[in-house]
């Protein structure tokens, strides 16, 4: 993979009226990858994104897109990027085609060039038939597709997507994911924010988990999972008074890396299940713990998230608003 740098963020800090939205953030996005900013609402991912697309000026630190500073060379950056906002930024009285024509003029495309691109984009997002209907007649999924077409109109080097599937039904989500993968295959660099773990896991080459305005961890989904060190065995005990004694019994065992008490049982991080499972069962029997439920799984992105932020992400499952 091409490892040249598309975006460089250095010690970015943004404060609003005394409240720090983003604090001392540094990361890079490589050319041609899908980079995700994952975090709960209010974590600072939108602030980061909006700085990159020149809508916000950093309080301190810098951000550059393809080598151009987002403040000093904002106009150059704007020529290079496309943006798909989180809200359906649609003028309900304009038709789909008129949206694209307006943007064509704002990107200073000659009429013929604009018309050619618009035809291609309408085809790509399957809005050809609805192109001349006012946008107020569009469904949520169609509006999202129009949003994406708008973001692609300037033929950007880097596309920014803010919560691309928020509030969409499952069908539309999968459709949007397909587009994103296809754009990457065409060589586009994509930066997206999301608070859906599955979306980050499925789509992103690398992701930064952001919470409280700071990057908690950064890497590919696979790296992050491996980084947790080992698989997880979760036990649920019938007799919860036995939890502390089981914790201390397991803590010193070989093949077991970490033991953590949970409200109903234990989470045990193990090096290899073959060695650890018999030891766990043996101890549980010896202490007469009455196991109610055993779950064994490879680390998922949820576990990564919890390990680094100390809590569960909200809105894990998409709620179909349409």
């Amino acid at each position: 993979m091409d490892r040249s740098i598309a975006i460089q963020v250095s010690r970015l800090t943004k404060t609003y009226d005394g409240h720090t939205a983003v604090s001392d953030l540094s990361f890079q996005v490589y050319l041609g990858e899908i980079f995700g900013l994952l975090g709960p609402n209010g974590a600072g991912k939108s602030t980061t994104l909006r700085t990159l697309i020149t809508l916000l000026t950093p309080t301190s630190g810098t951000a550059s897109v393809l080598g151009h500073d987002t403040v000093r060379e904002a106009d150059v950056v704007r020529q290079l990027i496309g943006y798909v906002p989180q809200e359906r930024a649609i003028d309900r009285f304009l038709t789909g085609r008129e949206h694209l024509e307006l943007l064509g003029a704002l990107y200073h495309l000659p009429k013929a060039e604009a018309a050619k691109r618009i035809a291609e984009l309408l085809k790509l997002v399957e809005l050809e038939e609805a192109a001349d209907r006012a946008a107020k007649t569009y469904s949520g999924g169609m509006k999202r597709k129009l949003d994406i077409a708008c973001g692609l109109l300037p033929d950007p080097k880097i596309l920014f997507l803010d919560e691309p599937t928020l509030g969409l039904d499952v069908q539309s989500r999968l459709r949007i994911w397909d587009y994103v993968r296809m754009l990457k295959a065409r060589g586009m660099t994509i930066v997206m924010t999301t608070n859906y773990l599955d979306e980050a896991d499925q789509l992103c080459d690398r992701l930064a988990i952001i919470d409280g305005g700071k990057i908690k961890t950064l890497g590919s989904p696979a790296e992050l999972k491996v980084g947790l060190g080992g698989d997880i065995v979760s036990l649920t005990l019938k007799d919860q008074s036995k939890i502390p004694s089981l914790v201390s019994a397991l803590t010193r065992q070989p093949a077991i890396r970490a033991v953590k008490a949970t409200p109903t049982g234990l989470d045990i991080r193990v090096e290899s299940p073959e060695k650890a499972l018999p030891a766990i069962l043996e101890s549980a029997n010896r202490l007469d713990c009455q196991l109610e439920f055993i779950e064994y799984h490879r680390p998922r992105l949820d576990d990564v998230f919890i390990a680094h932020t100390g809590r569960r992400i909200q809105d894990e499952t998409p709620n179909a608003a349409e």
Binding site: T54, P85, F93, L94, L102, L106, H108, A134
Partner: protein, 259 residues
């Protein structure tokens, strides 16, 4: 320069399209001032109004100048509404990520509001004409009326757009709008000349830029150039100061809102 014009043209046409798609609202905006003020109010007070006070052949011909300037006032104060909606639904943000001159958005709005207002003023003068009100200064006078309207409208539209960028919610915007509009009309010479007002209202009305505009438009309709010219000269000075103040304040707000 060519690019700048391309942006302004595209953005202005967007406002025109929006208006043409909202037929009902367009009709309502266009008809309201004529219907409510000129036709109803004008005819209603035909006999109640004292000709000695109004110094006009009839109340409608006195009121026409007031209705013209009221229309400028209301259109100007509402001039930022569409930007407010753009701000709230994220459309403005989309525009701001494109490589346009920030001023294109603002300029397109000025052009649109001024054009609509001028058309509306012409329609009002047309309706007044049907009721026998004939501007004595002729077409040149009508042109002068349009110029005064635009001079006043620029400042008002600037205030309105600045407000659209500053308010927290559109509820706030419309409250302020509702609160400003009527007192501005009552505390002006739109419905009653200054001499016919209670002293304290007349005193306050003297500080209302609307009064200056009306007092220049009225002689253009009723009296003739010799009477009108000093007022027109005066209003140009007053409006230039008014516009300068409004623009100075709003440009600061635009800079902050749009970067």
């Amino acid at each position: 320069m060519k690019e700048y014009w391309q942006e302004i043209h595209a953005l202005t046409m967007r406002w025109v399209r929006r208006l043409s798609r909202e037929k009902f609202s367009m009709l309502f905006t266009l008809v309201q001032p004529m219907l409510f003020w000129l036709i109803f109010f004008g005819n209603l007070f035909q006999r109640a109004a004292n000709v000695q006070v109004t110094q006009a052949p009839d109340y409608i011909s006195f009121l026409t100048a007031g209705v013209v300037v009221m229309t400028v006032l209301n259109n100007g104060l509402a001039g930022g509404v569409d930007l407010l909606f753009d701000k709230e639904n994220g459309f403005l943000e989309r525009l701001m990520t494109t490589p346009i001159h920030r001023s294109s958005v603002i300029l397109s709005r000025f052009i649109f509001v001024m054009t609509i207002t001028s058309l509306q003023v012409l329609v009002i003068l047309g309706v007044a004409f049907l009721f026998g009100v004939q501007p004595v200064t002729g077409l040149l006078g009508v042109a002068a009326i349009l110029m005064i309207g635009m001079l006043f409208g620029v400042g008002l539209t600037a205030i309105s757009m600045a407000m659209a960028f500053s308010v927290k919610s559109h509820g706030d915007f419309f409250s302020v709008l509702g609160f400003l509009s009527l007192p501005m009309i009552f505390l002006s010479s739109a419905l009653v000349p200054l001499v016919g007002m209670p002293a304290w209202m007349g005193f306050l009305a003297r500080f209302n830029p609307m009064t200056w505009a009306i007092d220049a438009v009225r002689p253009l309709i009723l009296s003739g150039w010799t009477e009108a010219l000093p007022h027109v000269g005066m209003v140009v000075v007053v409006m230039l100061i008014f516009d300068a103040l409004c623009l100075y304040g709003s440009v600061k707000v635009f800079r902050r809102a749009m970067g």
